[in-house]
Amino acid sequence: MSIIKKFDLVTPVVVILLLVAFSVAMSMKPGLLFYWIIIFISIGAITISVLKNIVLFKVGTRNISRRKGYSVIVILGLMIGTIIIASSLIVGDTMEKMIVSLNYKVFDEVDEVVNGREADGSMTYLSEESYINLSRVILEIPNVEGVTGEVEETVSIKNEKTSQNEPNYRLVGYNVSSKAFGAFYNDGKEMPFDLAEDEVYMDTDSAKALEAEAGHGLSIITPTGKHFLNISAIVDTEGRTGWAMGRGIYMPLERAQYYLNVSGINIIKVTNEGDVVGGEEHCEGVVKELEKLFVEGGGYDNLEVTRNKAKEVSEGREGMSQFSDMFLVFGSFSIIAGVILIINIFVMLAEERKGEMGISRAVGMKRLHLGRSFLYEGSIYAFISAVIGAAMGILVAYLVILFTESIFSSFGEHVTFSILDNFNFTSLSIIQAFTFGMLITLITVSFASKRVSKLNIVRAIRNIPEPKIPKKSTRMLIFGIATLVVGVGLGVLAIFVLNSYQLASIYVGISFVVLGIGFIIRRYLGDRWGITIASGILLIFWSIPGSIFPFPDIVDDIGGMEFFVLSGIFLVSSGVVLFVYNSSQILGVIVKLWGLTNRPTASLKTATSYPMKNKFRTGMTIYMFALIIFTITVMYMIIGIMSYNIEKTTQEQMGGLDIVGIANPNNPIDNIEMRIEENPSLSLNDFNAVYSITSGYTLLNTSKRDPGTDEYIIVPSSMYGFGNDFSAKNRWTFNIHSSVYETEREVWQAVFADSNLVILDGSFVAADEYGPPNPATQVDAKIGKNITMIGTDGRPINKTVVGILDQFIFSGIFMSENAMEEEFNLTIKGIFLFDLVDGDKGEELAKVIEREFSINAVALKTAVEQFTNIMEQFFNLFTAFMSLGLIVGIAGLGIITLRAVHERRQEIGVMRSIGFKRRHITMSFIQESAFISLAGIIIGVTLGVIIGYAIWYDGFKVLDYDFYIPWSKILVVALIAFVSTAVFTIPPSYSASKVEPADALRYE
């Protein structure tokens, strides 16, 4: 009994219980009974404590209903954390559901896919006989339910009725007796497998692209020429045709073999026992057995398992969880802002009630009683806001998903899935968010109540501010030394113990050491110096790009998201503290500069001096603003640098090319310039140049050995053969070329003339650390050295590298078209490059070319714009999400202004009675909040730009990206933030002017 009287156990017990509940909710997916038991105990603990202290409960709860508007703002502020957690988790739930259902749609009944590729890149065909033998063996594998062999090739398809064409669609030949792999459906009705001789099925997605209907006539171009077919029915893109998401026509195997002039099959699909979802669990075992069949010497060593449902589903899940993690990372800044708002609110509540609390203490309330009544009040706020927050989280998540859907739909007609349709949330996510929301509020409240209960009765009753800790306090010295020791400990821990999070730990360790030194300095030189020195050093330390420091091997961590959050917190805290403690000096300079032209007005003076009197409150509010603006600025910096450089480098990379065309190999175009000239819809005058490139596919010997077999690893690579025209006129630039040649043109001409020479794309420069992942990274390519390709007959072909290009969009080996013909017997022109007179006509001409020549034509400018546009849209999405945090900041400032007006009623009365006009009063309050938000915005933007520079330095510089600051966007956000705070602080400021002097002076 006496112990319970001494310590308030309720708060810690409830917090600990909730912590346990939270971790239970995070880790235990099924059986949440334990969770509910804990929640029940927590509620019970609070209830018992309430019943024992009903009068305290009354004081606490009546304070909520006392000023309803105020309580609403408090709840809004408290909700933010829960909303962010809930919506991030729900976005994750939805993405997961989408990716899983997408995977099931693609695979349907299929669980594993087996095929192989030849050296020239074509599909490996298996004769009827060996397929039958193989399928018998596969059927013996436990849990395998069925096997089917199919033919699948790309063909050019044209709808004769509507003249729409698609140069690279699939022709699928299926086995008419393979029902285990699903059926064809027309509006849900099952369709027969047998089709008349010239009939095909087409899936709904393809029908959309080709504007096709049942009964339309099609022409397809295959290696055997042009064939005419009829659409028997349009079938749903699911079940059988869900495979690879449609995009094709379907006919019985024999017919497909006939049109393609092939025998045997080129793709084997395996289905496990169980339905679409159930089959997944056998994947691991079946794949293991299949792989045993395809080992070297087993007769099928040219085959491999290329698709595995279970693996792709789980990889998809993982990928999507990164998406929600990203929301959590960005959201965590808003959560921090929300927590600060909570602290601010409760500290202000305490300040406001100081007098009452002093009385309560005087008439016999103990410290713990005071803390409790605060806790009860806080618990009610916490509960209400967690409930509403979790519900609002669903709404916010829905909006996020809606927005994402619109971003994806800008991918164009090729997107056939809907995220919105998969909108989904699990009870687990809601529970997690709710518990988390309760937890952060309660922890904050219990800290605030601790602070509250410490108040000095006499000072409280007389309304005198609490004195500062005296400068010479040894407590500060001890605290400083302790911090220093913790910092050193963290550093040591990082170096000797931790494997991951090393860098973060070292950074935090060093920061603690700096803080410790700051406290020690503060002990001797006072507040301002200690704080200024420590925060100044921290600011510089966290601003410096990490890659400058000699931390071996772990620098990669710098890119980590957790690290970003850490650096944000440290940077913004030091920035704000530095500002708050030096504001009078900073303001002095500003006022002085101002004073040269204009005398500072009286209201401006009060506007800055009041906030600086209450450093804690002001600092916290500035911090909320600075943190959110910082995050948004950093986002804009990243997106700005990326889109600026992607546009720039694509232009550079493409060397003036505007359109790239890729033809179906079955439908080559011989003399494209002549075809353009002949075509009435096109004119050669629009083109500076048109290049036809021979394309092919080869295997490349690397300098690395397979550790198992000790043989050199072989990687696939593309090849391009160019003609005289291209070598004479192209504007691609070299990263490096053989010093034998003086100019880049000479290199091109030499390679065209000499079949033994080749040029490689830019990815071969990229050593092994940076750049896009590429087979090139495994090939040791040097100017003047040979590379070894493998010919179609298996014979090695050596060529000397004389240059490496800057561009890596076309990645592979470049040689003369003659060399391609001599060594690989390739003559088909598959790639067309167009250099336009007017680059802006790219998109328009690409469409005409695609229609007229049945090739895929892409306008590069549009493609890049589309890509950067999508990227930008995603960042807009995050910005919208971040604006939740901004609302926190604005709400915070609103509360503070409201409070300031309330606090200063008497002063306002005096000011009014000595002749201040209403306008002056309003202005001084508006200027005051403008000062706070402006300070936050300036600190946030400045630090955001600085960290943007560090990110560029650490991550983008090696890619040869230019540093770029998207000022216009940053300024727009800053302006919006500034104006909206003004809008929200005008009403309370205006209400200040309405204070009647007589009333105010009588007010107690």
Binding site: K5, E356, I461
Partner: protein, 234 residues
């Protein structure tokens, strides 16, 4: 006669960081049980400070304070608080009632926090309100009461736990003559009937005249101590 309150060489210095204010400069005082003492003096002379130090609300810089034979400046915060809740009543100069609680609930508060059963507490509170003539105002919150009524609720609260000592800092400060007289009548009656000790700070010579003992302070010291024999009321 036994002293219920006594202090020797009492010093109180406020350190605001910039200046030091010597609010009490070596005070010796002894108040007998059942006394009624009025403390007077110019504004800022240290009257409120003296009350705070004697009642244990504030710490002392130097000297000793005994209340009911306990050295109050040695007690822990919780002990002091319990003592306040059970043995003392307060009427402050400013801020007095909790605005969220009704008059009745305000009066009950000291009883409830010191562990009196709710039912008993309610009865006692109603009785105390009745005593100050505000029984009908029990459910009203302070905002609905006049200044004088509020002060009477405060007195009801100060008396509800049947305290040994009542500390009153200008209890009649804001009130008109008639109300002020009524309150003084009440205090004098309680002092007589219950032998409760009253320490009243006041600027009103009329109020002071009704106390059995008048102390005059100047500059943190007692400059005049006039007693009419026993300390209780006339």
């Amino acid at each position: 006669m036994m002293a219920i309150i006594s202090c020797t060489n009492l010093h109180k210095t406020y350190d605001t960081g910039k200046v030091k204010v010597h609010a009490l400069r070596g005070l010796d005082l002894s108040i007998g049980k059942g006394g009624m003492v009025a403390v007077m003096g110019p504004s800022g002379c240290g009257k409120t400070t003296l009350l705070n130090c004697l009642s244990g609300l504030d710490s002392v810089t130097e000297g000793e304070v005994y209340v009911e034979n306990m050295k109050i400046n040695d007690l822990s915060d919780n002990k002091k608080t319990e003592h306040r809740a059970m043995r003392m009543g307060f009427v402050f100069q400013f801020y007095n009632l909790l605005p969220v609680l009704s008059a009745l609930e305000n009066v009950e508060l000291p009883l409830l926090v010191s562990g009196v059963r709710p039912k008993v507490a309610r009865e006692k509170a109603l009785k105390a309100l009745d005593l100050v003539g505000l029984k009908d105002w029990a459910p009203h919150v302070p905002a609905e009461l006049s200044g004088g009524e509020r002060q009477r609720v405060t007195i009801a609260r100060a008396l509800v736990n049947n305290p040994a000592i009542v500390w009153a800092d200008e209890p009649t400060g804001d009130l008109d003559k008639k109300t002020s007289n009524g309150i003084m009548d009440l205090m004098c009656r309680l002092n007589k009937e219950n032998k409760q000790t009253f320490v009243i700070v006041t600027h009103d010579p009329g109020v002071a005249a009704r106390a059995g003992r008048q102390i005059r302070m100047e500059d943190g010291k007692i400059v005049k101590d006039y007693s009419n024999g026993d300390d209780s009321t006339d």
